[in-house]
Each structure stands twice: as structure tokens, then as C-alpha cells.
């Protein structure tokens, strides 16, 4: 079930009403658990079994970890969790990719092998909930957290529908304690939660799907050759689309959880105002960045074993982070580019350790960061390297047979939305949405809320899935 659908509106209204009934806390948690399974199975019922497997394996693995005395036994329980989760992820997400690469490898060696088409359906959100459940077992293994006291709280942590299919990737320590005490949203929470849901829907339905996605499609899904203007505008459109889509989802998820009385962490902090790439990753998909830092970068050595190991850990983390996004080498290239950017930035920071940029220099560095991020988006959006090169050559102005692909209206719409987006990110760079809203006049807030709600309905979104569902 996607948030931007009539089905979800009906579902959420029912869940909210039931959650507000004066029932025992355990019963209300059971209701939320059932609702979450319904939410997931409304997409493809059989795949709820995978969710159960992931839940049960990690529950028993964590229980085993607590009881195990010997390090070997503890490691075995931890590996059970990692193998079960990565095994599922590997089969469903990377099965076809691995087979295609194996076939290509054999072909390069002169061996002709026609593999049967695997036709594996990717279960929605598998990348998110496997990471969430693994973090539970890994935290217990690393003695960062105690296991949940009861299975219901733990199962609800894994399955809680606001974050289930596309994050924010929650840690057990963030959510399980919230299930231990009765919670019901106060009026202020409920209304502010609804406001956040509206902001998220506006981002997704109006900006991402309504205005920006069609422009990106005209450049990336076409077989025609774009010139510099079209290639840049198509890529800028995608930069806006991916942000509005994913940040929109996260904002709705936070709003939904808030309406039910729960708190979820920010997943985005105005990333297009980032100065440098370490700053960018502190602002973009924050819960994934911190997950990769805690469970991949640091175990790979982090920055504790000298520069070489640090750069290797950075590159390894970003390459795997890229692959996490999708079973395609273009995603690996995207992650690799970010790894290179982070490494170069790290080197520059050491080389020019005493440099303190003024405001204008910060602005220039910020714009350079944004431009370089856009170049990585080409690999993220293009379905093949050949199309990525066509767009990149277009951005460099070196496409010989370029034709205009975007009409004036598309160019203007992208220019207006992206300028507005980037300027907003810069204005909000060191602020939070809440702090700005707290100082805004009520009339302005009402009018803005109404315009957003009207635009959402008048745009008539067709229930497009969020981009990150495929990951």
C-alpha cells in the first residue's frame, strides 16, 4: 500500500480510529501489528511470509545471543541473522543480477550459457526491513542494546507500517522503548502529524510525480540525444524528483507515526545546501548513512587503522551502499563516485586543515557539491551506462546531434521548482522545520496548508509507487 492512495487514506482513518479507542495497551499494539501486516500484504500477500521469517529468525538469534556463553556461540547466532537476512536479500534482490553477470562472465570466457529467466519479484521494502532486523541482532551482539522484553514489541518494531517499506530505517533502541509505554497522540501531535503528512504528500504527488518526473523521463527514457540545456534540466529535474519523492515519503511516515503517538527521526535535513560530501551524507537519507557507518564502515576499520584502510573502508561502504540501492552496476557507479568524492574531500581537509572558508566560499563549495551530486544522479537515474554517457556528454555540451527535447513549459517549471528547492535548503540549512513554523503567523500556515492540500487533490496523483520502494 502506498501512502499516496485512497486505500491508504481509508486504512489510516480506520487504524487511527481503532487506536484511539479506550482499549488495553497490549490490545492496541496487537491492532497496530495486524494493521501493519495488512498494510504490507495489501501489496502482495504471500510476501508477508518473508517478513515473518526475518522477524522470527532475528528474535531467536537475539535470544540465543543472550543465553550463549562462548564467543563462538555468540558469533554463530549473529551469523545466523546475517546469513538469513542477506540470503533473502541476495536471492530476491540480486538473484537475477548475479545470474546475468555470471552468464556474461562465462560469455567473456567463450562459454555460451543460456540461463533460464529467473523472473524473481522483488518484495517491497525488503532492503529496509532486513536492515532493521539485522540491526537488532547486531546491536545485541555488539552489546549496544538489550533484546526486547517481549515478542510483540519486537515484532511491532520490525513491522510498524509507517517505516516498514521505505524507512526511516529505525533501530530497536529508537522504537522498542516507545512500545513499552501506552501512547496516544495528543491533539497537537495529531494536527501537526496531519500537517507533516500534507507537506510530504505535496512533495511526492505535486512536485515529484506531477511536475518533475515527466521532465526527467523525457531525457532519461528517450532514445534521442539531449543537448546541454536539456541534459542539465532533465538531471536537475531528477535531483528534485528523488528528493521530493523520498523526503516526501519520510515526512509522511513521520507524520503518520506522530498521529499515532510515536516519534521517528528525521531522514533528511535540507541536503542540497550541503557543503561537501560528508555534510551531504549527514543530510541525505540520514538513517541509512548512520546504519552504513555503524554496521559497515566501522566494522571495515573506519578511521582507526591508518589512511589507506580508511579510504578502503570509505570506498567499500559507498560501493556496497550503491549496490544496496539496486541490482545494477549503474548504482555501484553512483556509490563509487560518492566514495571518490568523500575520499577526495577527506584528503583535502587534511591537506588544508587550517582553511576557514567565508560565507561566499561556503556558497561556492555548496554549489560545487550540488553540481557534483547531480552528476552522480545521472548514474542513479539512467537505466544503462550507455544512456548515462549520452546524458553526461549532453551536460558537457559535446553531443553532436542533439535535438531539443523539453518544451518551454518544462524548462520554466524545472527552473522555478529547483531554484525554489535549493534556495529553501540554503535558507533552512541550520534550522529545523519546527523552529520556522513556530515563528510563522497562523494565517500564513493555514493558507500554505490549504494551497498544498488543494494542489495535491488537483494534481490527481495516480498512486505512483515511491522510488525507494524498488530498493
Amino acid at each position: 500500500m502506498v501512502f499516496n492512495s485512497l486505500t491508504f487514506i481509508a486504512f489510516f482513518a480506520i487504524v487511527l480510529a481503532i487506536h484511539s479507542l479506550p482499549l488495553a495497551w497490549t490490545i492496541r499494539k496487537v491492532n497496530l501489528l495486524i494493521a501493519s501486516y495488512l498494510f504490507y500484504s495489501a501489496w502482495n500477500p504471500p510476501f508477508v511470509i518473508l517478513l515473518w521469517i526475518s522477524t522470527v529468525v532475528d528474535w531467536y538469534a537475539a535470544q540465543g545471543l543472550v543465553k550463549a556463553q562462548k564467543p563462538m556461540a555468540r558469533r554463530a547466532w549473529m551469523l545466523l541473522s546475517v546469513i538469513a537476512n542477506l540470503g533473502m536479500l541476495g536471492y530476491f534482490k540480486y538473484g537475477g543480477f548475479l545470474l546475468a553477470n555470471f552468464t556474461a562472465l562465462l560469455a567473456s570466457l567463450g562459454v555460451v550459457y543460456h540461463a533460464p529467466a529467473p523472473d524473481i519479484v522483488l518484495p517491497v521494502g525488503i532492503s529496509f526491513y532486513t536492515f532493521a532486523t539485522m540491526s537488532y541482532t547486531l546491536d545485541v551482539y555488539l552489546r549496544r542494546a538489550l533484546p526486547a522484553r517481549n515478542f510483540l514489541d519486537y515484532a511491532l518494531f520490525v513491522t510498524f507500517f509507517p517505516h516498514l517499506v521505505a524507512g526511516p530505517i529505525m533501530r530497536p533502541t529508537e522504537l522498542v522503548p516507545q512500545f513499552e509505554q501506552p501512547r496516544r497522540a495528543k491533539r497537537q501531535q495529531l494536527f501537526f502529524g496531519l500537517a507533516l503528512m500534507t507537506v510530504g504528500m505535496f512533495n511526492k504527488v505535486v512536485l515529484a510525480d506531477g511536475f518533475l518526473a515527466p521532465v526527467a523521463e523525457k531525457i532519461y527514457d528517450s532514445d534521442k540525444i539531449p543537448g546541454a540545456l536539456d541534459a542539465w534540466m532533465g538531471t536537475l529535474a531528477f535531483s528534485g524528483q528523488i528528493f521530493c519523492d523520498f523526503a516526501g515519503y519520510s515526512t509522511i511516515a513521520i507524520g503518520v507515526a506522530m498521529c499515532l503517538g510515536f516519534a521517528m527521526p528525521d531522514n533528511f535535513r535540507f541536503p542540497y545546501a550541503a557543503v561537501g560530501f560528508s555534510d551531504f551524507w549527514r543530510r541525505w537519507h540520514i538513517t541509512l548513512s548512520s546504519w552504513l557507518r555503524d554496521y559497515l564502515y566501522i566494522p571495515l576499520g573506519g578511521n582507526r587503522h591508518g589512511p589507506r584502510r580508511t579510504y578502503a573502508a570509505l570506498m567499500g561502504t559507498m560501493l556496497l551502499g550503491g549496490l544496496w540501492h539496486g541490482a545494477n552496476w549503474t548504482f555501484v557507479a553512483w556509490g563509487g563516485l560518492h566514495g571518490v568524492y568523500l575520499s577526495v574531500e577527506r584528503w583535502l581537509r587534511k591537506r588544508f586543515a587550517g582553511f576557514r572558508p567565508n560565507v561566499w566560499a561556503l556558497l561556492v563549495f555548496g554549489l560545487i557539491t550540488y553540481a557534483l551530486v547531480n552528476i552522480t544522479w545521472v548514474f542513479f537515474r539512467a537505466k544503462s551506462f550507455s544512456r548515462a554517457w549520452v546524458v553526461l556528454r549532453g551536460m558537457a555540451g559535446t553531443n553532436a546531434k542533439a535535438v531539443p527535447l523539453l518544451g518551454t513549459e518544462s524548462l520554466v517549471v524545472v527552473a522555478v521548482i529547483i531554484s525554489g528547492l535549493v534556495i529553501t535548503h540554503w535558507l533552512m540549512r541550520n534550522r529545523t522545520l519546527e523552529s520556522v513554523l513556530a515563528r510563522a503567523p497562523a494565517t500564513v500556515l493555514s493558507c500554505t496548508w490549504a494551497v498544498m492540500a488543494f494542489a495535491i487533490i488537483a494534481t490527481q496523483g495516480n498512486g505512483n509507487a515511491f522510488i525507494y520502494f524498488q530498493f
Binding site: S41, D139, P265, T408, A458
Partner: protein, 365 residues
């Protein structure tokens, strides 16, 4: 470090009052938006969505495929064949699977491979531009149908019962980005060939996709002229047009695909009837020039061995009003349906299939 329980600030404002005011303003804006489109002539109707098509396609899977009359094609048979009239004549509610801007080939092949469809009749709309080019604007509908989730089915049901029958603006033609993009103030970009997209032409009246032309095309000459102008742009030569040899290859491929599908359907006792629906004006002139009957329609019937009804062959299929050259006015669609039914019953149902079309010469003998 374990992540702590997150804390979220709630701005200290009168959120109840803010929400209430926002709600009132939203309703006012929506009311004005609805009023604007109703004043333009739009009435609420069922959305011609992929989900609606899926409900009709599933009728075959759910037991109605044995002995059913199914319609595949493009917008012409979708608008022109009036399901209630056909039902009155045949006693059977047909399954309407025609899709605008879409060759029926994918649906024809899908039905040919579906054992649930047997002992029935299949009317295949032949709009030359689409049928013989294979262009399929909405081919994705089949994939959608096969992968439709329970959530999408529920959403379709909710929309069809609680939204679509009440809101005129709930139509893709009047979505905010579409309305903005179609404003006349945008200057044309030099060197860019971008014909105007097709405007709203139809109204879906019922859950079973019973449709007809939008009456604005009949009542508003300026709108009909706009629609004709859009067709004229689409019919004008374009650098993207295939060469004559490429086009002929495509035509041959489409006919071969149709012949293979018809052969499969015949084995399951499904009678396939091709219908060349009426067109007129510049559209017909263009069709005759680019897709001449001798190289398309006649070859199709010969290769498939299936009967066909070409509107030019029957006096009772003449004299219709097509406000924008391609689709019948609603009243004439009723007469067309009655005449088509009578022709099929008289000339095809009781005669050897392959001989029918060949016994006719253009313009009704």
C-alpha cells in the same frame, strides 16, 4: 553507540484553528475548481483507468469468457459501439476492452492465449493508423492487470464509488500539471517539434466501460475545431515517420501477428470479426493515402480468413456525423451499433466467414 529514542518538537501553535481554517479554504478552492470545469462542460464520469480495464479483463477469468462477446480495439470501437444498445439487441452485456490510442494486437494475442475465452465472439476494431502500425499507447495495462495488488483493487473500488461519480475535475485532462502545460502563453521552443496532445474526447458512463464521445465536441464548434487541428498536426509529415519500406514491413508483421492469434482463437471456437470503424474528412484522406485498403484491410482478411465489416461497404454505415473526423456523435453511435449488429447477424453469423468481405465492393456495392 545505540541510537536513543527520538524526540520530536511540536511547534507551540493553535493547530486546531490552523487546521480548521485550512480545511475551509481547501474546500472553497476545490469548489471553485469544480465549478470552473463544470462551467466548461465537464461532467463527472468514471475514469478510463488501467484499473477499470482490469475489472473488465477479469470478467473473462471469472467465468464469463465462455460464449462472451469481447471487444478489442482503439478509441473508435470504444466510443462508437454502444454497449447498452448491443445488450438490448443481443441480450448479452459485452466485455469492452478497447483502449484509446492503442492497437488491439496485444489484447488480441492475450485473448488468443487465454483458454478461458472460448465459444464466443471477438470484435476487433481496425483503425488503420493504430492497427497496422502496432502503436499501443496503453499496452502497459496488461502488465498492470496481472500485477494489480489488492491495495490497487480497493483503491479502484473506492475511487469508482466515492470520487469519480461526484467530481468533474477528477479527469487526467484537468490535472494541475496538464492544465498548466497546456496554457497558450508558453512560447514554442525553436527547433522543437511538439504536436499538441490529444484533448478529452470521451465520457465513460458505466463501470463496464460503456462510453461515448464527449458532447462538447457536438455542441462546441470551437472545441471540435481544436480536436480536428490536433489530428491535423498528428497527420502532418514528421521527421520521425518510417520510410515506406519500413512501414510495409510493420504492416506485414501486424497482419502476421493477427493471423496467428485468429488461428488460435478459431481452435477454441471463437469467431473473430474485424470492424473498420468510420472516419471522415482529412483523417480518412490520410488513412487512405498511408494505409490503402488494398495493402492493409484486404490483406488482413485474406491472411486471417476472418470476416470483416468495412464501413465503406455498407449503405447503412454511411452518413454519420463525426465531429472531429474520427469518432461518431453519440446519436449516430447508437445507429452505428444497431446497423453493425444487424450486419453481423445477417451477413456473418449465418454465412461462411471467409467469403463475406470479399463479396462486397467499396461504397456498398
Amino acid at each position: 553507540m545505540a541510537q536513543p529514542v527520538p524526540e520530536r518538537d511540536i511547534p507551540d501553535l493553535r493547530w486546531g484553528a490552523i487546521l480548521f481554517a485550512a480545511l475551509i479554504m481547501t474546500l472553497l478552492m476545490l469548489g471553485a475548481w469544480e465549478w470552473h470545469w463544470r462551467a466548461y462542460g465537464v461532467e463527472p464520469s468514471i475514469a478510463n483507468s488501467d484499473a477499470l480495464w482490469a475489472t473488465q479483463r477479469r470478467r473473462i477469468d471469472n467465468g464469463e469468457g465462455d460464449g462472451a462477446t469481447v471487444i478489442v480495439g482503439s478509441s473508435r470501437l470504444l466510443f462508437d459501439l454502444q454497449l447498452p444498445v448491443w445488450q438490448k439487441l443481443s441480450g448479452q452485456r459485452s466485455i469492452q476492452l478497447a483502449l484509446e490510442g492503442t492497437s488491439p494486437m496485444f489484447a488480441l494475442e492475450d485473448l488468443a492465449d487465454d483458454p478461458n475465452f472460448r465459444n464466443g465472439r471477438l470484435l476487433v476494431d481496425v483503425a488503420p493508423e493504430l492497427f497496422f502500425s502496432g502503436f499501443a499507447l496503453r499496452q502497459g495495462v496488461l502488465k498492470y492487470t496481472r500485477k494489480q495488488s489488492p491495495s490497487q483493487r480497493i483503491g479502484q473500488w473506492l475511487s469508482m464509488h466515492f470520487v469519480e461519480p461526484y467530481l468533474a475535475f477528477d479527469d487526467p485532462d484537468y490535472a494541475l500539471p496538464t492544465v498548466l502545460a497546456r496554457q497558450e502563453w508558453w512560447p514554442a521552443r525553436p527547433g522543437m517539434h511538439s504536436p499538441m496532445p490529444v484533448r478529452k474526447l470521451m465520457v465513460v458512463m458505466d463501470e463496464d466501460r460503456a462510453s461515448h464521445i464527449w458532447d462538447k465536441l457536438e455542441k462546441d464548434p470551437a472545441y471540435a475545431k481544436l480536436a480536428q487541428g490536433i489530428w491535423a498536426q498528428h497527420l502532418a509529415p514528421s521527421p520521425d515517420d518510417p520510410s515506406p519500406a519500413q512501414l510495409q514491413k510493420t504492416i506485414d508483421e501486424q497482419i502476421a501477428r493477427a493471423a496467428a492469434a485468429v488461428a488460435k482463437l478459431r481452435k477454441r471456437n471463437v469467431q473473430v470479426i474485424f470492424v473498420r470503424t468510420p472516419s471522415t474528412g482529412a483523417y480518412l484522406v490520410w488513412e487512405d493515402k498511408v494505409f490503402p485498403r488494398a495493402k492493409t484491410w484486404d490483406v488482413l482478411l485474406a491472411k486471417t480468413g476472418a470476416p470483416g465489416v468495412h464501413f465503406q461497404d455498407y449503405p447503412e454505415l454511411q452518413g454519420f456525423w463525426l465531429p472531429e473526423w474520427s469518432h461518431l456523435a453519440e446519436r449516430d453511435a447508437v445507429r452505428f451499433t444497431q446497423a453493425l449488429y444487424a450486419i453481423i447477424e445477417r451477413d456473418i453469423e449465418h454465412r461462411a466467414p471467409a467469403s463475406i468481405a470479399r463479396t462486397r465492393s467499396p461504397q456498398g456495392e
